[in-house]
Every structure is written in C-alpha cells, then in structure tokens.
C-alpha cells in the first residue's frame, strides 16, 4: 500500500510539474491542430481594413509571401513595415508554413500580429501539407474570401490545385462568379490575389484560360498578385493587359508596395 502511494505521489508530482512549468514543452504531435491563441485572423482583420480604408483617396498596401521557416526575416519585415506610416494593410500570399505543422502557423501568426496594420493571409501549397489546411482554416479562415477596401474588391483565392489532387474545384469558379454580384454596388475596381499564379505547376492549367475569362468579367481589374515562385515577377501572363505581380520569398528581404489611386496604380519593390 505504502509502495502504491509512493508511485501515485511521484506521478502526481510529475503531472503537476509538467502542467505548471512546461506546458509549452508538451507537444502532442506536429499535426495535432491543437491551436493556442488567436483564430480567424482574416475575418477580424478584414473588418479593420474595410473600416479604416473607407472614404480614402487612395489605398497603399504591401504584398509579401513565402515566409516559411524564415522567422527572423519575417520579424525584420514586420519592423520594416511598422517603421513607415503610409501603409493601410498587408497581404501575405501564402506559405507561412513549410511542413504544415501546427506550430509553424502559430509562430508566423505571432510574428505577423506584431504588425501595426491589419494583414490577411492566403493559403499556399506548403500550408496544405498533412493537417495544414485544417490548421489554416482555424487560424486564418476560409480558403477563398474577399474584402473591399475603398471600393476596390480584393478576391483572394486558393489556387493550389495539386495539393487537393483535383478533388475540389480549385480555382473555385462558382465562388468567383458569386463575387461578381456579391456586394456589387460597393466596388468598382478589382484585384485578384493568390499563391500560385496560372501556368505555374501548382495551378490546374486546364482551367488557366477559363480563369482568364472570369478575371476579365470583373469591373476594372487592376492587376493580380501571387507568391510561390520565390522571385519577383511582373508579367501579363495572358497578354490581355492584366498584370500578374509575384512577390519574392522572405529570405530575399523585399516586399511589393502598391498604391491604388483614382486614376491608376503604382507598383514598387521595397528592400528591407
């Protein structure tokens, strides 16, 4: 009896010690999707963006992406954006994680939460690995979503067809079509944002042409933004006048800066 008591005592001590002093160390599994901290980042930040950008003359926003495993560089990026006061919001083009591990999403969220301006994150192909897409949905939100900043509609799309083995419609043309009429009176310009651009190996390229068709149905398409290629790109992929701007990876320490004014837009690559 005395012996059993000793074991129970030892176990209780181990349990107590671990509960109070080492919660961070008790990792269940890399793909546990046991989320600590803030969720639904995109929904919260979209409200903020829509409110702060209403009735402005122009909007200025940063496009970045592919920050997987470059935590120090992402911290420097946050500092660089915070050091200026002319930015309305940040669009992260996806790949916050490299392996789809739950921890990776939390680490990147915690760093990006340091931004003084609201940010949104689009899903990248690496974010889909393992249980990654489930974690992404909980921490950041829906895989296809849109918001309106100063009468510009931003349509953010999941374009990682290969990650879903073509089992889901990606890009989702039903979603895109609905966006034509959804809040129709509130916008008169459009920007498309995605992780993998059309004709990339990740995109379902059987849908590339229909994608171009749908994009051109929208009012005053300004340009499209993408990430994924880990280099700066600027190309009218379909030679139809719609530019696709690709952001670099975080390691290369630069971001894209866009200003949409009443009479057009400006584009700049800013090193940090």
């Amino acid at each position: 009896m005395f012996f059993m008591k000793k074991i129970v005592k030892l176990l209780c001590m181990a349990l107590l010690a671990s509960t109070f002093t080492a919660c961070d160390l008790l990792d269940i599994h890399p793909y546990a999707v046991k989320i600590n901290g803030e969720r639904d980042i995109n929904a919260t930040n979209i409200k903020e963006i829509e409110t702060s950008c209403r009735d402005k003359d122009s909007i200025r926003f940063v496009v970045t992406g592919d920050s997987q495993r470059w935590y120090d560089e992402t911290e420097d990026f946050v500092k660089a954006v915070n050091s200026r006061n002319d930015i309305d919001f940040v669009i992260h083009g996806g790949d916050v994680s490299d392996f789809g591990m739950t921890d990776e999403f939390e680490w990147q969220r915690d760093i990006l939460n340091g931004l003084d301006v609201p940010y949104i994150v689009i899903i990248g192909n690496h974010d889909c690995i393992g249980n990654g897409k489930r974690t992404f949905k909980k921490i950041f939100g829906q895989l296809n979503f849109s918001f309106i900043a100063n009468r510009v509609k931003f349509i953010c799309l999941n374009t990682n067809s290969m990650e879903f083995d073509y089992s889901e419609p990606i890009p989702d043309f039903t979603f895109i079509e609905d966006e034509l009429t959804n809040r129709q009176t509130e916008f008169d310009k459009t920007v498309f944002c995605m992780h993998a651009r059309p004709l990339s190996e990740q995109f379902n390229n059987n849908d590339a042409k229909p994608f171009e068709y749908y994009v051109n149905l929208f009012p005053k398409v300004q340009f499209c933004t993408a990430a994924h290629d880990h280099r700066i790109t600027a190309e009218a992929i379909f030679k139809d006048g719609v530019m696709y701007y690709g952001s670099d990876c975080m390691m290369n320490r630069n971001y894209l800066l866009f200003t949409i004014k009443a009479d057009g837009y400006e584009y700049e690559v800013v090193p940090f």
Binding site: F3, K6, I7, L10, L11, A14, S18, A22, D24, L25, L26, D27, I28, H29, P30, Y31, A32, V33, K34, I35, R69, W70, Y71, D72, T74, E75, D98, F99, G100, M101, D103, E104, W107, I111, I129, G130, N131, R134, T135, K138, M162, D165, E201
Partner: protein, 212 residues
C-alpha cells in the same frame, strides 16, 4: 556377491537404456529447445505508457530488453492523436530504440538510471499523410515525408523494484521523462534566433513496466 552383481548389472542396463533413449531424442530435443528459445525471445519483456513527445497524446505498447546488462530496449508503441480542431482522430505508431548505459541501485527497492537516450520513428495514419511523395507532384517537389518523422531524445528514469510479496504485474516499474526533438523542428530552428529551445524541444513522460 551375486546379488551385488545383479544390482550392478541392473543399474548399468538402465543407464545404457536411458542413454540410448537420450541419444535417440537428443537431436529433436535440441531442435525443439532452440525453437522454443527463439520464439520465447520474442515475448515482450516490458510494456510502456508514454504521454506527449510528438507521438500522440498517449501511446501504449510493448518492448524487449536485451544486451549484456539489459542496456538496450526496443519499444513498439501505438498512440492516439485526439481530433482537437482538426475534427479527425488519428492513430500513430512509434518504433523506439533506447540505450540505458547505467543503472545505479540505491537500495533493494530504488534505482536510478541517470541517462536514457535513443531515437524513435513516428508514423501517423490518415490519407492526408504520405511517406513517398504522391505521383501528382513533380520529382523532388517536397523533400520530406509528412507521415514519418525521426526523433531523438535524452531522458532519465527512476526504477522501483516491486517487493516479491506484493508483486502482481511487474518486476520493476520505471518512471521516466524524455526531452526530444524531430528533424522538422531542428530544420525550423537552424538559422533562426526567433525560435527558442522551448519551441523545438518536447517533454514527454511515462511508465515502463518490466514484466520479467
């Protein structure tokens, strides 16, 4: 004298007879003995319950100890990964190799094993995880398998020898803890000051029951 002779003869006869039986069955006996010995070596000598350590919330399994001082152990554990926010429960399997170089006996009941170390491979079951990259990807698209991970650990154990009169299940019970990391975490930590040891090191603990 005659009586003695006949007794002697009887003993001699019996000895020869028994020897001849032994000689006749010795090959078979040896064979069966070997056969049993080999299969008996596969009877697990220990069972383990372990919590956390990137192998599931709780893992249960069995293992074998071997070596000159029983300093080597191999465990096969099955773990449970509760659904949490993923909405899906997953089963995991862990193959674990332990090395326990020293065991310091304090008295007839208590012993300390100041170092245990080893590696373990953990696999998680579910269609969203793969070991070999699915064919839809270009060659070498991802450089790591999402299903299997190698972990390394170091830890310590306290061993309790159960008193013979109170023994009902196990000869020894070891309480242990381990600090581990996997290569996915190491790959994340390398080149980043942002990640601290608490981010990439995991604590796990458990009980090992030495059955015999």
């Amino acid at each position: 004298m005659k009586l003695f002779h006949s007794k002697y003869l009887l003993v001699l006869l019996l000895t020869v007879f028994s020897c001849s039986i032994f000689a006749q069955e010795s090959h078979y006996d040896r064979r069966i003995h070997r056969y049993r010995k080999h299969w008996e070596a596969m009877i697990p000598t220990q069972s383990t319950v372990q919590m956390y350590g990137n192998m599931g919330l709780v893992s249960i399994g069995m293992g074998w100890d071997y070596g000159h001082k029983k300093q080597w152990e191999t465990d096969l554990l099955f773990g449970l990964l509760p659904p949490y926010s993923s909405g899906k429960t997953h089963l995991t399997m862990t193959l674990k190799q332990n090395f326990i170089p020293w065991s310091i006996s304090l008295n007839s009941t208590w012993a300390i094993e100041p170092l245990s170390c080893g590696i373990y491979l953990n696999t998680v079951y579910g269609p969203e995880f793969w070991t070999r990259q699915p064919e839809r990807y270009p060659k070498g698209y991802y450089t790591f398998p999402s299903r299997v991970r190698a972990n390394v650990y170091i830890g310590q154990r306290v061993v309790i020898h159960t008193p013979v009169e109170k023994r009902w299940f196990a000869k020894e019970i070891a309480v242990f803890y381990e600090l581990s990391t996997s290569y996915l975490y190491l790959a994340s930590a390398v080149g980043n000051k942002y990640l601290k040891p608490r981010d990439y090191i995991s604590l796990s603990f458990g009980l090992k029951f030495q059955l015999f």
